[in-house]
Homo-oligomer: 317 residues x 4
């Protein structure tokens, strides 16, 4: 089975600029930096990294990775994709610490990776007891480090079409917005939280934002403080406010390349077999998108393009 | 000497409506309700009430009260106002629990009261130890009750003119905005916090907002949650965000009559003899008004008129 | 598959006394009260109730329930228990809103229920959008209501023996303490959090505590404030402090019958296929039990007996 | 008039060791380090430093300083001390940035300094708006930096005798404990908070603790986390818990030399002319000392000796 969103790779223009923003300011933990990539994780994560920033001229979503429960399941997934007529590629050595990786473009064109084997941080060596839990290193954290990776918000031409794929690979919907005959949006997940992958209708395939959880309402607010104090006031794009859908207390920030990150707290867990919560488009526009908060600024509708150089990609933007 | 802002009276259209908003929803402590007035206080206050809502057809700022250090000082203040050529009135029995009260209209037209004697809540009787501290009643609080009254934000035609008065009665400036030859704004105080009375330039004498402190960043956010949950989403007018001036983390809300209340946390203390912090108008527009946060909505420029039926008032709005 | 701990039933001596503590003070949501039982839930829960308090002369753990993914899986579980030689009982109508229920005593003697069908709260009717999310009712909450049920801490004679059972029904271990040849403790789970069921060695089968999550560090502290303010100071038994194992920021409280509840925040998620984190008994005694915090009081070693009138029970305490 | 506690000097054994604890771990801002002293301040302070750690073989309270409203008032204070028959010394250049300083030993033997002129941090230069408020530098803070200095807790042989002195120099009592004919303790202040100087009965003149305010309940807890994570678990001496007197949510920590620091949040403001809140010794023992929290450990009764080499000192411990 698919367990969760485990990794995101973004193409960025300048690693120094990215390191200053993500590591020196926000407080992401710097795991490694190679000539081309910066490897980062949040504080309560056991995978050695969850965010990869890779220098490229093509500023876009490089891909995102979903962790699966076993190596065998990777083979099952490859077979399932073949059944669906989707081109696949099984590769090794994609990133340090990663095992076999199945690559596909999902039908909307988003670049997806599946993997099982992933290097874990050391939880047992060193001073007795001390390094067992990564989060017990608050004395060496800086900024307001995120706690863990949570989800992607993707833009797709047809949510109903996209949902067919995600349902086929085992996702369930936590909440959705029905607009007449079609879904306007669906929050889909492999884990019990509200979403790993949100699907929202837009003319072009794109990434709207990635999301990391922080430690409660005050950490969301202190992230905005931190950015403004460090001279990144323009990076504070939208919020804070409360979403109706998902219940998240959100802040949307933009990195130096314009990639949008939701820094949030407060969504809920719900068993995956339970029926999704449906909103009409009217309800959603009135209360679902925004339970309370400031009016949406125009910039919030800008999106990040997706990697066009990907196996089977048909994205042309 | 003048100690601090101690009380505010607002004219409202309907006490039931106000009680639902202030008491049942926000969690102000209801001290008393008479035919005409609702008496409220916050959780960490010892004065029996700090906010009075009085039913009137004239929705406006009725007056605000400054507590002074002694009865003798009231007489000194009366003499000082006579010296300044300001009409005064010494009255008794203004509100339950209040002693002698000196009434004046300050030169811009704002209705001000000075008083010393004020009924205190019982801090020693009853169950041993239990009622000694009012804030140790969290089991009977509801909503997100404010912690204590803090300040008024007044609009005046000339800040420099207004400041002459406040300086004369012993206030100091914590921060100010200089716009060419004149002050655009000044945050003035009798206590060591950033302000009891803020003065901001506007064509007409008016009240912009009153302010209560809440318990930290998360209480500010949960106040917005509370209002939206209770069906008062439109009362969440502006914020949350961070002011540069005063360092406050703010949320501006509107009561059912449109009176604006700043719910905030995080300003600082500074000795009153130290020189004020000055901002140019450019700095203020760039960083002072808003360190970070959403764009100011138009409604935020609306103000509450002030009581015209007040001794010596020349306000005509 | 088994999804999670979903329900706990405790025998209590007096429903009025329990309602005053759990509902009027702590802020559990009162769903229903019958002649014999009080049905409660936390704020971010969709099951109509997760805690049942039933009046009985035998103050003990009545049972706890684990929700499974389907009705078919209930039948599979019954077959599996028969294979293990464990007596089973399939019953209906146990509690309002509950479907078929499989009852067993696990080998240590703890009374367990498995069920799939469970009545959900209404998430779509009423005022548009308003009741969709249960947590968006902060205006009617009181106290510091817990957010959701999390785990049980059970005392068993042999952790290794007990673990054989829990492993067989699909649980995994997040952390454990090795004491020479045997495990002193194991934190086992069906979901990705650190535990649904903790197993700790003790001479007699017993319940040490049940646990509910609250909203962050400050809600843990405010729960202690709330109890002391309401006259329940003696209910604040141990903490707050930080556990090394699980990383939880904890407060242990006792209800009027002595049942212990952990009110906590801050444990982590980790994929279930990853190897458990092991502590030696020395490490655990030095840092694992208590990362920092006050010395353990004697009362903390008291436990709640388990229901002896249960199918197949061999418990004699 | 006396404004507030403004500065504390402690004798320590090793500046490197102190810097690691106060600066590298807790996050005090390092202002300067000379051969003999380390100068520190908290985040929301405008005085260039409030804590001085000076290397000495005599680990003790070197002295503490109270800021007064003017240079003239220093002279008045000197005259007043002469009237009281207390030896005085007026010195200059005590610490960098400090003006004239009046030194006395108060009758119990505590070394006190009074001063008016104190160097302020720069609030107006540099990047426009950016350095105006010192607290808007969260991007360069580490640890959980304290917000501001608050009070000293002194041990004196007779509280009634000590109070005569503090009353004479203009302090008022916020709360006190009456034990038969004498006061067991008195919380006295120059500002409107609950105390600048607490006086508690003990056989020997000593310092019990100094206190810094942090940003709310969660910062208190995160300070304990921080210390334990950094390997200073034994420095977490007592708490967290809630005091009845003063309402403070407290954590007591010990520095590497054993000096005790209260890290706290949540006391209240109250006008100085209002009558103090009295506790009987019985009430205080039951609820006042500890509203809720862990039992007091023996180490908590240890104290720091006071400087014997001080003008007029009669302390012999």
């Amino acid at each position: 089975m698919i367990l969760r969103l485990g990794q995101i790779e973004l193409y960025v223009s300048d690693l120094d600029q990215s390191e200053k923003f993500y590591v020196d300011t926000l407080g992401f933990i710097k795991v490694n930096r190679t000539d081309s990539s910066l490897y980062l994780r949040a504080t309560d994560e056991f995978d050695t990294h969850t965010l990869v920033l890779t220098e490229s001229e093509d500023i876009s979503l490089a891909n995102f990775g979903l962790r699966v429960s076993s190596e065998d399941y990777l083979d099952e997934l490859q077979a399932l994709h073949k059944e669906m007529g989707i081109e696949t590629e099984m590769v090794e050595g994609v990133h340090p610490g990663r095992g076999r990786t199945l690559r596909v473009a999902e039908p909307s064109g988003h670049p997806v990776e599946f993997y099982h084997s992933m290097q874990q941080i050391d939880v047992g060596e060193g001073r007795p007891g001390v390094e067992k839990l990564p989060m017990r290193n608050t004395h060496i954290f800086n900024g307001i480090p995120p706690v863990r990776i949570d989800h992607m918000n993707l833009r797709v031409e047809s949510v109903d079409e996209a949902w067919k794929y995600w349902e086929r690979i085992g996702f369930s919907i936590s909440e959705y917005v029905q607009d007449g005959d079609e879904k306007f949006a669906a929050w889909t997940r492999a884990k019990t939280s509200t979403h790993d992958v949100a699907l929202v209708k837009q003319e072009e395939t794109a990434l709207h934002h990635i999301a990391y959880i922080v430690d409660g309402v005050s950490a969301v607010v202190r992230t905005a403080d931190l950015l403004a104090d460090a001279g990144y006031r323009d990076s504070v794009e939208y919020g804070p406010g409360r979403h109706g859908v998902s219940n998240a207390f959100f802040l949307y920030i933009r990195d130096p390349d314009g990639h949008r990150i939701e820094i949030y707290s407060g969504d809920y867990n719900r068993d995956q077999d339970l029926p999704p919560i449906g909103w009409t488009k009217e309800d959603y526009d009135a209360k679902g998108r925004l339970w309370w908060g400031p009016a949406v600024p125009d910039a919030f509708f800008e999106t990040t393009p997706v990697n066009k150089d990907w196996i089977g990609s048909k994205v042309k933007n």
